[in-house]
């Protein structure tokens, strides 16, 4: 065994796991009802959205109480080194699963750029596709006008993109912001390891600030894209890959920044010691992960 212990730690029975499943069930069902109603009536609010809200609140509450229990146990010192290592493996593999989730969307982006759009444009193995479907369609990237627009014009069910967001504009600034936040969280870690509490809190504060700044700038870009550029979820494969990739990333940044906020608050109230601060590290790992995903986005979605 990796680390011999005198005794093991096993948590007492807990209500939260089953209730958490119930909460997720409510949220999922609520969303499903909401979508069905939306398709039928064009209206989101209703039974489904209320159920979703209930589920959402319940999910948050579950996170809160479950983590509260874990933090209490951690502070009371019942955890041993082995528990710590279990948490580390858990977090590491969780992040790996997130990487694979993003891989699916990157896969879609590469597939569109390397296969489907060129084939629709008459290249390579799929040449006949072009001949039979939209012979006037040409392969370009960014794809501003969808294939069916070559025939249907404005009657197309998609919206035409006027312009895409250039890489060396806000996205480049956002890259700098996220990369520096990766640095500040590391400084916070160094401060914690030297037991400099003030440094810890200030660097963490800087990280949280940068994180939310990123989210705000990104939200601004979305508004700009929708209002001025014609770049929407509905503007063909470019808009689809753009919004799902950046959208899920933005969602992860928001979660990461929220977790950092919790860590900041805990640091202010004196949690964590210089030896024992896995929660801090887990969130830092997560933060570096969203950083790396952003680099992929910057290169393949915005730049190349």
């Amino acid at each position: 065994m990796s680390n011999p212990q005198d005794t093991y730690f096993i948590p007492e029975p807990s209500k939260w796991p089953v209730l958490f499943s119930l909460a997720l069930f409510l949220a999922f069902c609520g969303t499903a009802f909401m979508f069905n109603q939306y398709l039928a009536t064009g209206n989101m609010p209703g039974f489904g959205s209320h159920l979703l809200l209930l589920g959402f609140v319940a999910v948050f509450y579950m996170f809160y109480v479950w983590f509260r229990d874990v933090i209490d146990e951690s502070l009371s010192g019942v955890y041993n080194n082995q528990v710590d290592i279990s948490f580390r493996w858990g977090m590491a593999w969780f992040i790996f699963s997130e990487v694979m989730f993003f891989a699916a969307f990157f896969g879609a982006l590469f597939y569109a750029r390397v296969y489907s759009v060129p084939w629709l444009g008459g290249e390579g193995a799929g040449a006949a596709t072009n001949e039979f479907l939209w012979p006037a369609f040409e392969n370009v990237w960014p794809l501003l006008a969808t294939p069916d627009m070559t025939v249907d014009g404005l009657a197309s069910k998609f919206t035409e993109i006027k312009e895409v967001i250039p890489a060396f504009d806000i996205p480049a600034i956002n890259t700098i912001i996220l990369l520096s936040s990766g640095a500040t969280v590391t400084f916070a870690h160094w401060a914690l390891k030297k037991n400099q509490r003030a440094g810890l809190c200030w660097w963490l504060f800087a990280t949280v600030f940068l994180g939310f700044l990123f989210v705000i700038l990104q939200a601004g870009e979305y508004v700009h894209a929708y209002n001025d550029l014609g770049l929407t979820l509905n503007s063909g494969i470019y808009g689809s890959t753009f919004f799902l990739l950046t959208g899920f990333h933005g969602f992860h940044v928001t979660m990461g920044a929220t977790m950092l906020t919790v860590i900041l608050l805990r640091s202010i109230s004196g949690h964590f010691t210089k030896e024992n601060h896995f929660a801090f590290e887990a969130v830092a790992w997560y933060w570096h992960f969203v950083d790396v995903v952003w680099l992929g986005l910057f290169i393949f979605v915005y730049w190349l």
């Binding site: 065994m1 990796s2 005198d6 005794t7 093991y8 948590p11 007492e12 029975p13 807990s14 939260w16 796991p17 089953v18 958490f20 499943s21 119930l22 997720l24 069930f25 999922f28 069902c29 969303t31 499903a32 979508f35 069905n36 398709l39 479950w66 082995q82 279990s86 493996w89 858990g90 593999w93 969780f94 790996f96 699963s97 694979m100 989730f101 891989a103 699916a104 969307f105 896969g107 879609a108 597939y111 569109a112 296969y115 489907s116 629709l120 193995a125 596709t129 479907l133 794809l143 969808t146 294939p147 069916d148 998609f158 929407t232 979820l233 063909g236 494969i237 689809s240 919004f243 799902l244």
Partner: protein, 533 residues
């Protein structure tokens, strides 16, 4: 070193169990959670089985008899979803929950609360899935592979299907993380990686496959969802997407998924055969490496499900050769199982019968898989009953038979009672004969050109379909016997000792039967004799 020795300073009152419903709802105990997984899988087995009976009844003769085509398609679709995600996977996780901590000398799973959540998601998720039967537009009927554009035409059930997949993904990923953390971090002193029982090894690798592939499926169905409700065009050519892209992403998950279903089965069989051959497993290390190789290769063969869909020639060839190459490590495993039995002092109790039939019948499925993997041949076989025969040989006589063998093998350990050997063997023989009557003729039907997923067929296919249906009904009914054997074992089976099987080796057999509620509260010591069999 036995359990008694390490626990002499230990009091019995430590073995307190929570009582009532709360024991199950709020459990943090790997044995209770394992039991819940197994019972859940058994219940779902009969729900999925009932759907299969509807399919076989309708196919008993040509023409439309009992159900309309839409409902028929819903039956095949839901049967597959229930069997894969509700039976084979949960049963495998249930066995891992019960056995892995005992095999590695751990007190429990590494993250017990998360473990309970992994389980409790299942009933909720399947409530969502089965509820679609009562919705506008009915249950999913576009096939378990959910190909667009067909699947996006599903009615109100659509978002429920998608969220069920997400929900089950959450459960599987949490379960897999837990298993890895447990095996990496909770092994007893002296239990190195190369001393792990093979069942534990197969679960490390399965867990890795789960973590790597389930999120990809989640991504794929998310794109289906946004295509339907948010105007995206991932799978719509008019917008620059491609329906075939879904198939690529789906099968990038899908092929590793079939190994998620079968690797734990390999592990179980690798525990059973040495026990009843009274010999150590032949080629232990090569078994570990072969399992890892299979898992690794499984990420590079996905498009063998799409040969007829259209791919550049280089792709067709690459995926053909990659697919063939999996036969090599698989062959290593089959060779090792047979070599383990070579000159062993063999006996043929029920678990061994299931394991033996696994080796033979899984190999038949492997061979038909190879036939399907030959690109030009697959142009003939694709979407015929030959494919149905293939995956039922690997899944029913493969994965399911191994799970049943495992259940008989460990039932005495779990319950402290022996099952009725005569009834067990009766269950085995009924199953193994009927399952071949059920699925073997489907090879002929497929080669003769009968397409899969249709409620009606040309008259020349009648005889084999009738035979197949009869096999199906007998197989279905025989499984009730399984339930009876389990109930009888719990209620009136004769007491089992800790060893249970003469040839059994490993830490779990040093524990009393049934093992105490909390197994190892302090780490046991592992020496050569108690390490893997």
């Amino acid at each position: 070193m036995s359990y008694a020795e390490t626990h002499e300073h230990h009091h019995d009152d430590h073995d307190h169990k929570p009582t009532g419903l709360g024991r199950w709802l709020f459990s943090t105990n790997h044995k209770d959670i394992g039991t819940m997984y197994l019972v859940f899988a058994l219940i779902m087995f009969f729900i999925g089985g009932a759907m299969a009976m509807v399919v076989r009844a309708e196919l008993f003769q040509p023409g439309m008899q009992y159900v309309d085509p839409q409902f028929f398609n819903a039956m095949t679709t839901m049967h597959a979803l229930v069997m894969i995600f509700g039976v084979i996977m949960p049963a495998g996780v249930g066995l891992a929950n019960w056995m892995v901590p005992m095999m590695i000398g751990a007190p429990d799973m590494a993250l017990p609360r998360m473990n309970n959540m992994s389980f409790w998601i299942l009933p909720f998720a399947f409530t969502m899935l089965l509820a679609t039967f009562f919705m506008e537009g009915g249950a999913p009927a576009g096939g378990w592979t959910m190909y667009p554009p067909l699947i996006t035409q599903l009615g109100d059930g659509f978002p429920f299907l998608i969220f069920t997949v997400h929900f089950l993904g959450v459960s599987s990923i949490m379960g897999a993380i837990n298993i890895i953390a447990t095996i990496f971090n909770m092994r007893a002193p002296g239990m190195g990686f190369m001393q792990l029982p093979l069942f534990v090894w197969t679960w490390i690798i399965t867990a890795f496959l789960l973590i790597a592939s389930m999120p990809v499926l989640a991504g794929a169905v998310t794109m289906l969802l946004t295509d339907k409700y948010f105007g995206t065009s991932f799978f719509i050519a008019a917008g620059g997407g491609d329906p075939v892209m879904f198939q690529h992403i789906f099968w990038f998950f899908g092929h590793p998924e079939v190994y998620i279903l079968i690797l734990p089965a390999f592990g179980i069989v690798s525990q059973i055969i040495p026990t009843f051959s009274r010999k150590p497993l032949f080629g232990y290390e090569s078994m570990v490496y072969a399992t890892a190789a299979i898992a690794f290769l499984s990420f590079f063969v996905w498009a063998h499900h799409m040969f007829t869909v259209g791919m550049p020639l280089a792709g067709e060839l690459f995926f053909m050769y990659a697919t063939m190459s999996i036969a090599v490590p698989t062959g290593v495993k089959v060779f090792n199982w047979i070599a383990t039995m070579w000159r062993g002092a063999m006996t043929f109790e029920t678990p061994m019968l299931f394991a033996l039939s696994f080796v033979f019948l899984f190999s038949i499925g492997g061979f038909s898989g190879l036939m399907l993997g030959i690109t030009p041949a697959d142009f003939q076989y694709h979407d015929t009953y030959f494919v149905v025969a293939h995956f039922h040989y690997v899944l029913v006589t493969g994965a399911l038979f191994a799970l049943m063998g495992g259940a008989y093998f460990w039932l005495p350990k779990w319950t402290g009672h022996m099952y009725d050997e005569k009834l067990g063997q009766l269950h085995f023989w009924l199953s193994v004969i009927s399952v071949n009557v059920l699925f073997f003729p489907q090879h002929f039907l497929g080669l003769a050109g009968m397409p899969r997923r249709i409620p009606d067929y040309a008259v020349q296919f009648t005889e084999w379909n009738m035979i197949s249906s009869v096999g199906g009904f007998v197989f279905g009914i025989s499984q009730l016997l399984f339930v009876w054997v389990i109930i009888k074992c719990i209620r009136e089976g004769k007491k089992a000792d800790e060893q249970v099987w003469e040839g059994a080796r490993g830490l779990e057999w040093t524990l009393p039967s049934p093992p105490p509620f909390h197994t190892f509260t302090i780490p046991p010591k592992v020496d050569e004799a108690t390490a893997h069999s």
